[in-house]
Symmetry: C2
Subunit: 347 residues, 2 copies
Amino acid sequence: MKLLRIDICVTLALCLSGGAAQNSAERSLPARTLPTPTTVSPELQEAIAPPWRGMASSAKLTDDQWRAFAKQFDAAGAKLTEELAQKFEVTLSERKIAGVSVYDVKPGTISPENRGRLLVHVHGGAYVFSGGKAAASEAVLMAHYGKIEVLSVDYRMPPDFPFPAALDDSVAVWKEVIKSHNAKSVGLFGTSAGGGLTLATVLKLKELKAPLPGALLAGTPWSDLTKTGDSYYTNEFVDNVLGTNDGLLDGAAHLYAGTHDLKEPLLSPVYGDLSGFPPTILISGTRDLFLSNTVRTHQKLLESGVHAELLVFEGESHAQYEIATKAPESAAAFREAGDFFNRYLAK
Amino acid sequence: MKLLRIDICVTLALCLSGGAAQNSAERSLPARTLPTPTTVSPELQEAIAPPWRGMASSAKLTDDQWRAFAKQFDAAGAKLTEELAQKFEVTLSERKIAGVSVYDVKPGTISPENRGRLLVHVHGGAYVFSGGKAAASEAVLMAHYGKIEVLSVDYRMPPDFPFPAALDDSVAVWKEVIKSHNAKSVGLFGTSAGGGLTLATVLKLKELKAPLPGALLAGTPWSDLTKTGDSYYTNEFVDNVLGTNDGLLDGAAHLYAGTHDLKEPLLSPVYGDLSGFPPTILISGTRDLFLSNTVRTHQKLLESGVHAELLVFEGESHAQYEIATKAPESAAAFREAGDFFNRYLAK
């Protein structure tokens, strides 16, 4: 029997040799089928199983179309916020701080170590969606599982208020919050656009020489608004939440940035100077279109001398830890983030 | 103009609704092209660009074919160990401990805090490859970048010595090492099969009620020897080191396990009781076939109350941090692992 040719790069030398001649800028991948992973809870399997239902399109939306989309999304999001608040016995009340709409989000139980502490939350939604009460759904989950008070910022968004309105609002709220709190006992967090805005807010606070938060959660942060990073390609159509960068996501990036370059650090914070950042925890999933946004930010924080920890959830697409709210993995994500805040926020 | 249907699961409610009707056990992915990421060093780009060069085959190899493969791999691996040792001015000397072949691996510089500390290393290679001097290549990298002494275990392997010979050897060496060292000042590490064996060794030491290491590095551990876990599918053929589980990898798992069930915890340690484990750092890459093996182990450690940290490198396939040794990302991985050991090993 002839020796079968089944190579495996088990030794270093073999991997280093041979491949070079076949180098090219692009590789082809065959069509494949993806089974639903058996390594996650049934609730999460249900969220992972469906294919992405969107459509990639480069057609530009009008401002009115964006508004119509946002209205539809925000109504559904508001309903979810209310359902979660009721389920977890979390109370929400709206007020203004420095002219910005915010929600005070109070859990049924505040743990003894979290008394006097606060988390400021900036919501996700591609900088266009999840305004109004929809803003606070993640804040409800964090307040409940972290047993800590949260202040959720309903920042202004395009098409009416492009960059830097969202950032101005988060900075304005932060400055007001630290008048009555020790900044080191206050954390800042958000997911997706909210993760990007969390990082951008800290970049801006550094620039202003303002006190920084005690710790951060940057959940699958939109840290690069351009289609730059490996998982924009490897997880394209694998991720069933975002699907692809082409179409709505790219449109939202340009709508938010307006005339600004998408790679400005306050828009794409992975390009900023992250030195001096507070301890930061990042969350992603193996199918996340933003896995690269997350791990590039994580590595850059580590290289900048910042203590940074990373969670990657099996099988999850973008932000699925805050979407599949019935899955035990969602509870685990917020509990682990809560533990992190507890370790790093001042008492 | 008609409103375009471009869905995005920005709000929770939308993602939870609608998808359920389309649930199925399997999803189809179209053929795609993968560009080489621009977000990594040129040296790493060179390692990422080539397609996987192996062949998936379910043909069973004879013992003699396995031996011939191993001989070829080990010769190339030994050469690399020697080249790295020379380049980094690391010295290697072979000896026996408890009847097991080991290499003392001494870096040119030992940092002051690492005097008296030691790392025990168990190599990768699917439990079949990288015997002899090939065993020590990763040990050379760790000794150099971590500025710490390493003892690399050249454990016995199949076809002549299946499970539990490798485990018996690592346990025998460990017991001998702690006669002259405080166990808490000694770390244990390995990559791939070596990552799995690191975890299995600690499971066995717990069973024996022997002192445990002070800290662990489980690099992209082969923590599940069956094709179970999402990235076995999502990163199939995306990973250009392992390519697929089908063929050589599956054959090696069965060769190693012999008559044992592949899911026994000492073979697939993700199924073991990980409570009481030492602080552990895990390393993977966004294209790693074992990304799920890594993150499942990380989550299980966290759930078991163990302090565990995760590094995921942009664009990297399985164990590429120890393969693309010229890339700055390789240096970063071993430096970050070295920092971790420095934080957790007793002085």
